[in-house]
């Protein structure tokens, strides 16, 4: 018998909670070291120019200045993806966006560094600028980069799973829709900061607000040409990340170099304006959906084209491009699917991964188009979705391996909770209700750089004090990664989570975890921690069993004791168990690691999208629209999330509500808009709103009530059955708002953000719509043809276009069921255990649904 869960599923204070409410959590800019110097950059005022000369002489002689660095000091490029090593710590010959750094001044104070930077003289030769993807497609020369597919196309991809044109032609109707999703940014409250110094052993040490210390470690080794073991990267707790701190950044490399040159600690903290230019936020994406539907609502095929505005650098852009097409298939069964995506370079801040990475844009288009389909064929949008959910434990058309699929329960919860059936198309003019669904990864199945190493690893040290110390490279960015690690280890070892000491995100001390991105930490680091903890428990059980003469399998680890299940009085304290085991075995340490299961997608491009598991969400949004002004107010949101199992329901609810909040910001107001300065001011492309004053984000006053439902159906690959929650719940909100606006006033805003101006404009337009009306002709690369599983494929590309075959049936029955992946064991009886108290919400408890 497995004992009931004692930690997992119980609402409790996060293990880092106390430090955060006392001000003791030290963020990167809170660090200070004796003799510390400060670094400031001189940045380009031009969006695209050749650097003809840089004269630093006056700056070098200015008061307080210790060093001035330029691009000449950094001959090696770097970047997050091996295929996009296109960034320079300081630009050498060319600036590619306004804000690109050209020189760095290291001085005794920040203000001396800033003043001296103004004395640097740079001579530029201005180049033609490219402001958007259409200009990029039309401008072969000058190229912003000398790599990429061609001209200013960074990456274009074309994948087809079954003959889509044939299936479209055979469909009763084809829905042809265009959508545009504006870029927006993370706006983490903490501005990026880094402090580099030479450690006591003379090695380079960088403290930085990064979500990915391992990747920063690799980038430093490359850009500074140092052996990695001579570099230590410590990820400070991030004051919010949301994907904005997942790239290695130029300031991290420059302060490292400066510390090595001066022999003194060097700090750089970005201003808010600089953070806006660092960006790596949501890509603006133009989309074209053609979807074949039969009269009963069955989707027969989907053809999706996306065009991404990548900005000035590669960043994660190749992955982002694939992500705009990877997850359309994992929510609803698509018998045939074609995806073509293109990312262009433009002279703007580089886009990258923001919460949902590349998937919110096509999710918006897909879910709004489904709403249009439902209205057109006279079917309830909830029923339209329910009739063709992707089946659990099946392969999708693009060979994504699904695990559990809790989407049906999610839809049912929000439909029932919101009173959907009595409201949709029945509310008075000006009030409306909208529904949308989504899915997201629980960790990318493949690493950023190709290797067969574990994605996460955990070491546990137990000593005679009874203390358990956990070492893991995972990075706390506010999402609760520390709490996940402590919680699962506490569950296995029967101790209190607060009794576990955590050492995380330090490349000298902790085993590699790839970082806090792609919603991977709970599943991957969680599984690694469970493995290490189970190994420790075995060692302890053997020692205690031998001492007490009890079979190991009869021992229970709970309440900081190890005791006989049949006779709980027979046992020892956890500390005594460790002492017994240390006496018997010597020093105690265990390890655990996690590598995702191999992907079924064997085609080129199939590396983006596979995940050990997928989470699901459904949302209903109720809005009020003033028909005379277009003013839009979101009154209430009902959201259900398939969490697999909630490890700590307080944190799960926080992630869901935080995701809804961030999504409402995107849906209603946030946009990374750029503008051109007048020609007399160089025609520069600059940020329209590089401050928190002008970049509007929701305050307390804009937040509607949120009703949250947790759907729990333990996922075999998840730690104690858990799935991700950090990103998925953001995804359905934007389309649900758009669908609610249509329900309220009968207009379609096929763009994000959905502003009052657009609503009003749509109400005046004859087609009752605002949004793009065309997609440019793009020279697509040769299509990679991969037959879907139900058409006899093996996950590999075929030489020729898929042979003509019978049109496959729509609906769930065509999904190919496959055995569940072997994963970490999930206690089967645990479905009956866990939360029996409200989710720590005194006034609006989240409801927990168990299958």
């Amino acid at each position: 018998m497995t004992p009931p869960l004692r930690v997992v599923g119980k609402p409790r204070r996060r293990v880092d909670g106390r430090a955060k409410v006392t001000g003791q959590t030290l963020f990167a800019d809170d660090l200070s070291f004796p003799r510390m110097l400060y670094c400031r950059f001189l940045r380009s005022p031009h969006p695209h120019a050749k650097i003809l000369s840089v004269d630093t002489r006056r700056a070098a002689g200015a008061p307080g200045v210790h060093a001035v660095l330029t691009g000449a000091d950094f001959p090696i490029r770097y970047g997050i993806l091996p295929v996009s090593q296109d960034e320079e710590p300081l630009c050498r010959d060319r600036v590619r966006m306004t804000g690109d750094p050209v020189a760095a001044v290291i001085a005794t104070t920040e203000s001396e560094a800033s003043s001296a930077a103004e004395l640097i003289e740079v001579e530029y030769e201005l180049l033609q600028t490219i402001a958007d993807p259409l200009e990029a497609l039309a401008t072969a020369e000058p190229r912003i980069h000398d790599y990429g597919d061609h001209g200013n196309v960074h990456k274009a991809v074309a994948l087809e799973f079954g003959d889509v044109e044939q299936a479209l032609a055979a469909s009763d109707r084809i829905f042809d829709d265009f959508f545009f999703y504006e870029g927006n940014t993370h706006l983490a409250l903490e501005q990026h900061a880094s402090v580099a110094l030479l450690d006591r052993d003379g090695k380079l040490c960088l403290h930085s607000s990064t979500q990915t210390p391992h990747y920063v470690h690799r980038a430093l080794a490359r850009a500074l040409d140092l052996p990695p073991h001579r570099i230590r990267v410590i990820a400070t707790p991030n004051g919010g990340g949301f994907g904005g701190k997942t790239d290695p950044f130029n300031h991290e490399i420059v302060v490292a170099k400066a510390a090595m040159l001066t022999g003194r600690p060097v700090k750089m903290t970005l201003t808010r304006e600089e953070v806006f230019y660092c960006h790596r936020g949501r890509h603006p994406v133009l989309m074209h959906f053609r979807t074949g539907v039969n009269n009963d609502g069955s989707i027969m095929a989907m053809d999706l084209e996306t065009l991404l505005d990548g900005g000035a650098y590669g960043s994660y852009g190749v992955a982002s491009t694939f992500y705009t097409g990877a997850l359309q298939t994992v929510t609803y069964h698509l018998p045939r699917y074609r995806f073509r995506g293109c990312r262009t370079f433009t002279n703007k801040p580089p886009c990258g991964p923001k919460r949902g990475h590349g998937t919110p844009q096509p999710r918006f288009g897909q879910e709004v188009q489904l709403d249009k389909i439902a209205v057109a064929i006279g079917k309830d949008p909830a029923d339209l979705r329910l009739q063709q959910l992707a089946p659990a434990h099946s392969l999708t058309a693009n060979w994504m391996q699904l695990g559990t699929v809790g989407l049906r329960e999610c839809i049912e919860k929000v439909v029932d909770g919101s009173g959907w059936r009595s409201k949709w198309q029945k509310l008075p003019h000006g009030r409306g209700i909208g529904l949308a669904c989504s899915s997201y990864l629980c960790g990318a199945g493949l690493p950023i750089y190709w290797n067969a190493l574990p994605h996460s690893a955990v070491q546990l040290k137990l000593d005679r004090s009874g203390l358990v110390t956990l070492f893991c490279g995972a990075t706390e960015v506010g999402q609760g990664s520390d709490d996940v690690l402590a919680g699962v280890v506490a569950e296995v070892l029967g101790v209190d989570p607060d009794d576990i000491k955590l050492v995380t995100g330090d490349t000298d001390l902790t085993p590699v975890d790839l970082g806090s991105y792609s919603s991977r930490v709970t599943l991957m680091a969680g599984n690694a921690a469970i493995q290490a903890a189970e190994r420790a428990r075995s060692i302890l059980a053997a020692a205690v069993g031998a001492k007490l003469g009890i079979p190991e399998e009869s021992l229970v680890f709970a309440e900081s004791r190890v005791f006989d299940a049949a006779d709980p009085g027979q046992g020892v304290s956890f500390q005594d168990a460790v002492i017994l085991a240390e006496t018997a075995n010597g020093a105690l340490a265990t390890i655990g690691s996690y590598t995702p299961p191999p992907s079924a997608a064997k085609y080129k491009g199939g590396g983006v999208g596979p995940s050990p598991s997928y989470s699901y969400s459904a949302a209903v949004v109720e809005v009020e629209v003033d028909p005379s002004t277009g003013w839009l107010r979101v009154d209430r949101v009902w959201i259900a999330h398939d969490i697999g199992r909630a490890l700590n329901p307080v944190l799960v609810r926080g992630q869901i509500e935080g995701g809804v909040y961030m999504a409402l910001g995107e849906a209603l107001m946030e946009e990374s808009a750029m503008r051109r300065l007048p020609p007399r001011l160089s025609h520069a492309l600059v940020h329209k709103m590089p401050s928190m004053l002008e970049y509007k984000s929701p305050t307390t006053l804009e937040m509607p009530d949120i009703v949250t439902y947790l759907v729990e159906d333990p996922e075999p690959n998840g730690p104690f059955g858990a799935k991700e929650v950090g990103q998925g719940p953001l995804l359905p909100i934007m389309p649900a708002v758009a669908n609610a606006v249509f329900d309220a006033v009968g207009v379609r805003v096929d763009e994000v953000p959905i502003t009052p101006e657009k609503i009003l404009r749509a109400m005046k337009n004859s087609d009752r719509r605002v949004g793009p009306t065309k997609f440019p002709a793009i020279h697509w690369p040769e299509t990679v043809h991969v037959p879907p599983p139900w058409e006899g494929g093996d996950g590999k590309a075929t030489k020729d276009k898929a042979p003509k075959s019978n049109i496959p049936l729509a609906g769930a029955q065509t999904g190919v069921s496959v055995p569940q992946q072997a994963g970490v064991s999930v206690p089967q009886e645990s479905r009956t255990c866990g939360t029996d108290t409200p989710v720590c919400a005194p006034s609006t408890p989240a409801e927990v649904v168990r299958k």
Binding site: T22, D29, E190, T700, T844
Partner: protein
Amino acid sequence: MRTVPLALRVNGEAVEVSIASHKTLLEVLREDLRLTGTKHGCELGECGACAVLLDGKPVLSCLVLALECDGAEVVTVEGLAHEARLDPLQEAFADYGATQCGYCTPGFLVTAKALLDEKPHATRGEISAALSGNLCRCTGYIQIFEAVEQAAAKIADAREDEVER
């Protein structure tokens, strides 16, 4: 650089520092007094991360010239606890999910403290209005509202206990 003397009471203790006259209260707290619990987020008085109590009222310390505070009483997040015992607001923020990354938390805590000092029975609407100058990108605010309500209830219970005694 010429400096000028500044005398304050910070978290109940008298402090005297010699500062550059252009410094903001935020800079003096973080750089001269090493009280890094108070944060910066926008340099514009828009995000609320730098909120502290100045003579009991919440102010944005990035917009306050330190010299204007001579003789004033300043409370930062480091001064909220009662010796080793956390303030009910701190307890509630930690327990009810009102802190995620924790960066905005000090500003929210002192702002909520000022609210409850003035209105111990603040309604949800009053809490939302009082905190509307503080941005949080993690929580969606609802767990923050709930934590303030929980703290208010706990403070009220403690008062009743005292009255009964």
